[in-house]
Symmetry: C2
Subunit: 149 residues, 2 copies
């Protein structure tokens, strides 16, 4: 685990907020420590309900490696992945997932579907939560507070 | 429900099989009965683990309508959506999902995560399974049989 990758993901989350998107950022890193994709939510911009940071990162890294399987690659993401993204992570065969804060309302890893613990999940990455949790949560809180004002 | 849309999805599934992809086809239709997207699995072709027929259909229909929310639109898909696609369907606010055969190993609607029944699911479409089930299942059986031979 390298904190610098999560710091990059946090920067991307802040860019998302500025663009009016729910602030989530993601980075996919090869086993050699090379960044393969750096993404953020682009749902509103792309008019695409599936354009979560994680899905865009998986797509980007797949294009970069010319493979739909991201063997030995790790994902850093500022928020607990939702159920859709947990499914995408499993299909992409990511090795490890490092995430920032939990998402009690929409998470798919620790809550609700708990997808990686289901018998219909055929690849479970190693999961590490709470990485830079305070800052990750603050970015989201600031965004929603501003929206309500 | 119009069976002709599922028949079109079945044709797309057959095209997927010819291209060497797991044969799943999908069609998204507006409330006026206009086809907004016609897609099939393109995972191998696009080197994209998320390129399931449903995700591509949601992306295509969003681009067509210039909205990430596919209000009052219906999805026809030949196989029970997986957990990733169930999440995508919910985010896209699709009105109804008509699907062909069940997927005991990887489905996310009736099995495993049963995503639409989770408290973390914030939009549940109407769901109708078993549409053209026999043909939908046969296309998949033929594909995997040929792969094993």
């Amino acid at each position: 685990m390298s904190q610098s990758f999560m710091e990059r993901a946090l920067e991307l989350a802040k860019e998302a907020a500025i663009a009016g998107e729910v602030p989530v950022g993601a980075v996919i890193v090869s086993s050699e420590g090379e960044i393969l994709a750096e993404t953020r939510n682009r749902i509103v911009e792309l008019k695409d309900a599936t354009a979560h940071a994680e899905v865009l990162a998986i797509r980007g890294a797949g294009a970069r490696l010319s493979s739909e399987r991201l063997i030995d690659c790790d994902l850093y993401v500022t928020l607990e992945p939702c159920t859709m993204c947990a499914g995408a992570i499993s299909f992409a065969r990511l090795r490890r997932v490092y995430y920032g804060c939990s998402d009690p309302k929409g998470g798919g890893v620790e809550q609700g579907a708990c997808f990686f613990d289901q018998p219909t999940c055929h690849h479970k990455p190693e999961i590490y939560g709470g990485i830079c949790e305070t800052e990750a949560a603050q970015i989201l809180r600031d965004f929603f507070k501003e929206k309500r004002e």
